[in-house]
């Protein structure tokens, strides 16, 4: 299949950018920091450009957001969950706590 001139130009720009921008290894560290602090303008622009040409780092960013959001949702509802494998206090722990609560020394 022959690519049109526009497609070829886009491809060339992407390739040119990928060679000049910080590589994925540095980019994923910046992605992680974007969850912790405000990125500088330069960092933001560099990150945006990298994400424009790199679907792997796009997914990486999505996955970090997904992990954070789902773990927080889960934490908010965990104690209410009643699925069969939900952890409960063992019999021994229950008895030990009962004894301690009624004033026995351990």
């Amino acid at each position: 299949m022959k690519l049109g001139w526009y497609e070829r130009l886009k491809h060339a720009i992407r390739f040119w950018l990928l060679r000049r921008l910080p590589p994925c290894k540095q980019t994923v560290a910046v992605i992680s920091q974007s969850f912790e602090r405000q990125l500088s303008l330069r960092e933001q622009v560099t990150l945006k450009l990298h994400l424009w040409i790199c679907v792997w780092c796009q997914w990486y960013l999505e996955h970090l957001a997904l992990m954070r959001n789902s773990v927080r949702e889960k934490a908010a509802e965990t104690p209410e969950m009643d699925f069969p494998s939900a952890p409960t206090l063992s019999f021994e722990a229950r008895e030990r706590i009962k004894r301690r609560l009624s004033g026995d020394k351990p």
Binding site: L18, P23, C24, K25, Q26, V28, A29, S32, Q33, F35, E36, R37, C54, W56, C57, W59, Y60, E62, H63, L64, L66, M67, R68, N69, S70, V71, R72, E73, K74, A75, E77, T78, P79, M81, F83, S85, A86, P87, T88, L89, S90, A93, R94, R96, I97, K98, R100, L101, S102, G103
Partner: protein, 199 residues
């Protein structure tokens, strides 16, 4: 210390014991540490019962105390394991970005992320996912796993976490980055690729 008059400790344990335990184990991932935190919470609650005075829900009040006990646990376990030079921040996973085709430091295709097609609402409902999640956190050094939990589960600020774990903000960022790199890959291998393969 005199035995309790009010409230009845046995009833308390029945009503709130498992709830508090589930709350604790999700964060501590260690049954005996979670049991201790629950026990300490009940003991502290008994001593301070006059202060509670029936304001608001008893359970909310108990969870508030438990949060402090969990933070104390992280603080203590940190003190027992002083930070070394870089070695307890977790694996660097340099192999994720090692390539021999002239694109070194870009994703190695064997480790590159794929599309997960998942939403928080779907994941929250899947009990098995959280077992995998917990297993994936386990191999991380204690302090790195604690930093991740305090940040992502409880949403503490960087300053608060640095104080609890006695680390600098740069340590924290490195720890969070490595925890995320490791966890994302572990979830991809042990959950998302299996899920896709299973359909």
């Amino acid at each position: 210390m005199s035995p309790i008059q009010s409230p009845d400790a046995v009833v308390w344990l029945e009503q709130h014991g498992d709830y508090l335990f589930k709350y604790a184990i999700f964060r501590l991932r260690d049954p005996s540490a979670a049991e201790d935190a629950v026990q300490e919470t009940f003991l502290a609650a008994l001593k301070a019962y006059e202060k509670f005075e029936g304001r608001g829900s008893e359970r909310t009040w108990l969870v508030g105390i438990l949060k402090h006990k969990i933070t104390d646990h992280f603080r203590r376990s940190t003190r027992e394991a002083p930070i070394g030079e870089g070695e307890d921040e977790g694996p660097e996973h340099a192999e994720f970005f090692t390539r021999t085709d002239g694109w070194d430091n870009h994703w190695n295709t064997s480790y590159a992320p794929t599309d997960w097609h998942a939403t928080p609402a779907q994941l929250v409902e899947q009990g098995d996912f959280w077992r995998v999640f917990s297993d994936c956190l386990s191999p991380l050094p204690a302090r790195t796993a604690s930093a991740f939990t305090l940040r992502e589960v409880d949403g503490l600020t960087s300053e608060e976490i640095c104080e609890v774990l006695s680390i600098t903000v740069n340590n924290l960022w490195v720890m969070l980055h490595r925890a995320r790199l490791h966890l994302r890959n572990c979830l991809e291998l042990n959950w998302f690729r299996r899920e896709i393969g299973g359909h």
